[in-house]
């Protein structure tokens, strides 16, 4: 079956401004968007640039905007995209390096702001710290985050204001604040309880819609907001 792809192209060394280029290729049943990009790169246009690694929905490299919405290319079956031309663009809101490749550094810098690591002050036991399955369930979904950036770059608050920590960083904060073993919750809450933190979330749900791991990110941000408010009293 033939399918048309309209792909965002921009090479700062050659192009004065971005443009879209159309490719029509023969696709096979079961192909994902990543398969199509690989095919184009290998057989049609070697200058096409994009990121990919695991091709099994877990590394988070190939997040891009497909038909207007952020998704993982390796997870998106072409047959789910309707009949028309498939439009492929880089993630919005981040500087473009080339074609679908964006600079993820601002994303990771925001992540680093929330102390995204386990903090323990009291002495550790010889063996493991105990945690019941119920306590673990609280953070199970949040720990599934693959840091692909689809959520943060889908957020209108982040587009307008890149100082906003963004859903991914807040989710990471949740993952530690609600971890029964962690002791850095207070200092983390101090960081995210900020005008560029928690309170820039307006429940738009774009992050939740975009998350390739189906994490209800908004739900967890709401839990953090409630926690921060409770701490005011």
């Amino acid at each position: 079956m033939k399918r048309k792809f309209k792909i965002f192209r921009y090479d700062p060394e050659k192009d004065r401004k971005p443009y879209y280029k159309e490719y029509e290729i023969e696709i096979e049943d079961g192909w994902t968007v990543l398969d199509a990009l690989n095919y184009i790169h290998w057989y049609v246009d070697g200058t096409l640039a994009y990121r990919r690694a695991c091709r099994s929905e877990i590394c988070g490299s190939c997040a891009m905007r497909i038909n207007g919405k952020n998704r993982l290319a390796c997870k998106t079956q072409i047959k789910t995209l309707g009949k028309g031309t498939i439009k492929i663009e880089p993630l919005p809101g981040l500087p473009i390096i080339k074609d679908m490749v964006v600079d993820m550094d601002p994303f990771f810098r925001n992540l680093e702001k929330v102390k995204p690591y386990f903090i323990k002050y009291s002495p550790l036991p010889e063996e493991e710290q105990l945690q019941t399955p119920e306590e673990r369930d609280l953070i199970n979904e949040a720990a599934m985050c693959i840091l692909c950036g689809a959520c943060t770059t889908s957020c209108p608050s982040f587009w307008a204001n890149p100082d906003y920590l963004g859903p991914a960083a807040l989710l990471k904060a949740y993952r530690f604040i609600f971890d029964s073993r962690d002791e850095g919750g207070k200092e983390r809450l101090e960081i995210i309880n900020d005008r560029n933190g928690l309170w820039r979330c307006h429940a738009i749900f774009n992050c939740t819609e975009a998350c390739p791991k189906d994490i209800n990110i908004t739900y967890y941000i709401k839990k953090l907001q409630n926690l921060a408010v409770n701490n005011q009293f």
Binding site: N161, D163, L227, V229
Partner: protein, 120 residues
């Protein structure tokens, strides 16, 4: 995991977020009642004669005052939230914040004068 009662001292938006929602609930009830009274029961005619008697009762005065405060809070804070989304510079944020605050004070004064001066 943090206890739910440890104190975060400086207000960095938590209370504004909370109050925005608290005032919303009052506004929801009051505004719908207001519209129903103004447009759905009675003649729908708005004259001094129909409005003033109601507004001069102390209970309505209290409700109106609360509405004025809450609506202004909700509106100004909402506007401020929108501006904060798009304005990143600290200086400009401060300037706009004072501008909104001034506007709130003016509107409150005008509104309060209305509420207290209405006589039947």
């Amino acid at each position: 995991m943090i206890g739910s009662k440890s104190l975060v001292k400086r207000n960095k938006g938590a209370m504004a977020w909370f109050l925005q929602r608290l005032t919303a609930i009052y506004l929801f009830v009051f505004l719908i009642a207001h519209f129903v009274i103004m447009h759905f029961v009675g003649s729908g005619e708005v004259t001094y004669g129909t409005v003033a008697p109601r507004l001069s009762s102390p209970l309505w005065k209290a409700g109106d005052l609360l509405f004025l405060i809450f609506a202004l809070y909700h509106g100004i804070n909402g506007l401020w939230q929108v501006l904060e989304d798009y304005i990143r510079s600290r200086g400009l944020r401060l300037f706009l914040y004072s501008l909104l605050l001034t506007l709130a004070v003016i509107l409150f004064t005008v509104g309060a004068v209305t509420i207290f001066s209405v006589k039947a």
